[in-house]
């Protein structure tokens, strides 16, 4: 048995469960607050949420966002505000997916999807313009040919925003402050963070606000 005893390790490996993912065909499920590539959201009536305020560009630590606002035309407005995002570009070869732009945005215009499987053979593909970032008429992200989308990955686009905005705290009081999204409506608040919500102090008593 001496020369065969080394095979015992090999044979026991054969019967262990396989951990390897079939990656290009299947993906592992992403966490609900995963930071992927951005989308520019629209209201439920189809108006764009972006008002061209450039706060996202100002807060971006990598300076990867370029925004230029323009005044809305009174007869054909693009956004409900006074101005709208005329140019919106994100350079994905600079973006570090920190989500500071999502936190800075006053109108919840920019959020992040779960899509992280993309790579570029040409540098100019990496700069996403507003046409590529803006959601389509069903409120879904536009899928670029160099991205690998599988299934319904574009369902959850604003979980991180809802978890960190002031109304998304664990001591939730039955009233959401975020606006509806085209194709999805007003999203439900995220439940179950921080264990039992009753055990957490309210925001005005030193809790997380």
């Amino acid at each position: 048995m001496g020369r065969l005893s080394g095979f015992r390790v090999t044979i026991t490996q054969v019967f262990r469960p396989r951990v390897t993912e079939k990656f290009p065909q299947e993906k592992r499920p992403k966490p609900p607050r995963f930071h992927g590539r951005h989308v520019l959201n629209r209201y439920e009536d189809g108006m764009e949420k972006c008002i061209g305020c450039e706060l996202c560009a100002g807060v971006c630590p990598a300076q990867c966002i370029y925004v230029r606002g323009a005044d809305n035309l009174t007869d054909a407005p693009v956004s409900p505000g006074e101005r709208y995002g005329f140019v919106y570009e994100i350079n994905y070869l600079r973006c570090i997916h920190c989500d500071l732009c999502v936190e800075a945005c006053p109108t919840e215009a920019i959020t992040e999807t779960k899509l992280f499987e993309f790579s570029f053979a040409r540098r100019q593909d990496a700069i996403y313009t507003k046409d590529e970032l803006l959601v389509d008429d069903e409120g879904r992200a536009r899928r670029q040919p160099w991205e690998l989308w599988l299934g319904g990955e574009d369902d959850e686009t604003s979980a991180w925003m809802r978890a960190t905005s002031s109304s998304g705290n664990a001591a939730y009081e039955n009233r959401v402050a975020w606006s509806g999204e085209l194709g999805f409506g007003v999203r439900e608040p995220e439940r179950g963070q921080g264990g039992d919500p009753g055990a957490l102090p309210a925001p005005d008593q030193g809790g997380v606000s």
Binding site: T20, Y92, C95, F116, S119
Partner: protein
């Protein structure tokens, strides 16, 4: 005699396909982990994503045995000549993946210490975004490279631009301007 010098006729019509298939399925990467991206690079090679499915499990410590270099992490100015030397020591055909935003453009470190994009030093074939890119993202970049090797797109592009991806900048007025990439010196066969 390299592949490009073989004349095309009915005997060698499928030879190019065969060679490109073999090149695609046996890419050996050189280890060039510079920063935290190297952790994700290791995770890509480990059991859950398992680069061995694509014939890439051997990470060569010697550049002379490798034909792909994955620049994983920020490239400092002092490291730049090292990268160029490692790249020059690799045998043709060779490919470069710029992994992560720091390697691709400098990312959030827009300062004097870092090279703002490794394509200033070596010709990059595939850019992988993310900080750091997850194993899925790197895998997607590797599959993009595989597709380009198999379709011969890189060979055609190198004939056109000399090497690498060829940086093209779109100016604001709409006129594209080509930035000439660093030419690769090739020994004449």
């Amino acid at each position: 005699m390299s592949l490009e010098q073989i004349p095309h006729n009915f005997l060698t019509a499928r030879l190019e396909d065969l060679v490109q298939w073999a090149r695609e399925r046996s890419v050996f990467p050189a280890t060039f982990g510079l920063a935290c991206c190297a952790m994700e690079m290791m995770a890509t090679g480990a059991a859950h994503y398992d680069l061995a499915r694509y014939g890439m499990e051997v990470w060569r410590a010697s550049p002379r045995q490798a034909d792909l270099i994955i620049v994983a992490g920020r490239l400092s100015q002092k490291m730049a000549p090292v990268l160029r030397q490692v790249y020059d020591q690799m045998v043709e055909p060779k490919w470069v993946i710029s992994m992560g935003v720091c390697a691709s453009t400098g990312g959030m470190f827009n300062n004097y210490a870092l090279v703002q994009g490794v394509d200033q030093v070596v010709p990059v074939d595939v850019y992988v975004p993310g900080c750091p890119p997850g194993p899925e993202t790197l895998f997607h970049g590797i599959l993009t490279l595989h597709h380009q090797i198999r379709t011969g797109e890189l060979l055609r592009r190198r004939e056109a631009t000399g090497a690498g991806a060829g940086i093209q900048l779109d100016q604001r007025d709409g006129t594209p301007s080509h930035v000439q990439p660093i030419p690769v010196r090739r020994k004449s066969a």
